[in-house]
């Protein structure tokens, strides 16, 4: 064999120009979303999900407290999944892995994004009971309004466009325009602000109880962190959740501010999402062997990145003006 270890043999081998290039900012966001989907697919292969308990306990549990027309399909689906646990979970895992890989491979990007939207909406209902927004348990600290709806939102915002949108100033605005993207951002973060103080969430012990309940099944160091933080916020729930709601409302309005202050509010959004993910979601409960996804923290951060406004006016090259075949890029 010619050539040394780690080096191509010289026979008919030439480097090509594009291999050193990097994907656009928008494509990078799509790849990040693909990574999360792939991770979700691998998480779905954990042993617990191949047992009846996945359907009969985890799925059915989300029906509790919801109106009958929401709860009934959840219960039926939970029973069906429990009956065919291996088949159902294999299909779920395979689909999520396929979505992740499909987003990474450009020719199947649109199909994968479309599938992710359909799957997310289904899981938002059946798997998450609409994130608890109809039964009064929604709390942004532990992932409301449901991580899975954020996948659908990101798929819409990162949908590839063949025609350039003239007024786009950030990556998320390239599909539906700046106005539409800002409206979606405000709706999301505004709803988070509302849910932060809705119902029992704003009670003096609400935050304490929520964090304490997360410790079960976690590694010792994380359970200890939960207990420590819960101790700190004990009886401070009302003032803390009100403060969180105010910050979330500022973030919701921040996209309408000029670039620099707007980006500062995007920074707030990232910090809040990180806090929620670590304290309120325990890293998506990844270490409990029963996590189906990473929860909302990383998705909110990804969303924030899509709304970050860079210094230059045009953050990205519209898909249609790149030299690649029309209609098939990113």
């Amino acid at each position: 064999m010619s050539g040394v270890m780690g080096v191509y043999a010289p026979v008919a081998a030439r480097p090509l120009v594009a291999t050193g290039s990097r994907p656009s900012a928008r494509r990078t966001l799509q790849l990040a979303l693909a990574l999360i989907w792939l991770l979700d697919g691998v998480l779905q292969l954990q042993g617990f999900f191949f047992t009846k308990a996945f359907g009969s306990q985890m799925i059915t549990m989300t029906a509790a407290g919801n109106p009958w027309f929401i709860a009934r399909p959840i219960s039926l689906s939970g029973a069906m999944i429990a009956q065919h646990a291996v088949l159902a979970d294999s299909a779920f895992a395979l689909l999520q892995i396929a979505i992740g890989l499909g987003m990474a491979w450009r020719p199947t990007l649109k199909a994968a994004l479309a599938a992710s939207i359909a799957w997310s909406l289904g899981v938002w209902w059946i798997g998450e009971g609409f994130g608890g927004i109809f039964n009064g348990t929604a709390n942004p600290v532990n992932g409301a309004p449901g991580a899975v709806i954020l996948y659908a939102l990101l798929a819409v915002l990162l949908w590839p466009r063949d025609v350039a949108v003239p007024d786009c100033t950030f990556a998320a605005s390239m599909t539906i325009g700046t106005r539409g993207a800002r409206a979606l951002w405000s709706l999301l973060w505004g709803s988070l602000a509302y849910f932060a103080v809705a119902g029992a969430n704003s009670s003096a012990q609400g935050l304490h109880d929520l964090i304490t309940s997360m410790a079960s099944g976690e590694p010792a160091w994380l359970a200890s962190l939960d207990r420590d933080v819960a101790g700190l916020v004990a009886h401070q729930g009302t003032i803390l959740t009100t403060s969180i709601a105010i910050l979330l409302a500022i973030v919701a309005c921040g996209v309408y501010l000029p670039r620099r202050p707007g980006n500062i509010t995007i920074g707030f959004a990232v910090v809040l999402a990180l806090l929620f993910w670590v304290i309120g979601q325990n890293f998506g409960a990844l270490f409990t062997n029963s996590a189906t996804d990473v929860n909302s923290g990383p998705l909110l951060i990804l969303l924030a990145a899509a709304f970050w406004r860079p210094v230059r006016r045009r953050p990205d090259v519209p898909d249609a003006v790149s030299p690649q075949p029309r209609g098939s890029l990113s």
Partner: protein, 255 residues
Amino acid sequence: MNMSGPSWLAVFFAVVMLTVAVYSGGRLVASRLWSRPIRLDVDVVHVLMGLAMAGMFVRALDPLPARAWEVVFSAVAAWFAWRCLVDTSGQIVNRPRSPQPNAASHYPTHGVMALAMLYMYFGFPAQPKGVAGATVATSGASAATADFVGLPLLFLVLLLGSGIWELDRAERAKRAALAQEMPETSREPGPAVELVGAPRQMTAGWGPGVSVAAAAQLDASGHVTRGDSCLPPGLMTVSHVVMCIAMSYMLVVML
């Protein structure tokens, strides 16, 4: 709660890993017999990892004891660390870089894979052959690693990220070849970020004359193989992605 994975899934992954090992071994043989260009270190590492992971999934398939694998993957990790160092220092002193255009990501990626293998060997308590179901994939992590979850999570993200990146990069390389084929006049005006500005000398021999069929022969790193190559470049990417997913599954079980 059942913390482990089902045994049939472990067998499935073991078969897939053996397939990857056989394919990578086949590439090594084919490259020697027909002087085909390959990336030697990657194919050797894929053979080793394929065999080792098949043995992790189904212990009866493990050809070497865990201690031997630990030595092997320590050496592999050291090799890729060394290659990273050489590549990085070459950049600092402005020496010519590795001829591999994606060396910057290829060396650390495979170094991380080797470290992940080491973590799995250290994290999984050694079991004698013949113990029913005694594999990483069916029995989970040892007590020593049960609370040590940051590292496997990091490995998990890096490995899956590597698989995603590799898939995208292979397609980018292919598109770049097709774009090179397009006549200058047919290129629409605008900031063609992925192509314009590339050094012309790098495109020598890859102007308008290149055919679509030949462009399809690009491998994942953007190198060109002979048009009649028996080593499909896309399969190399698939092998890498499959290996990343299998390794991630093992790490998830160990979380």
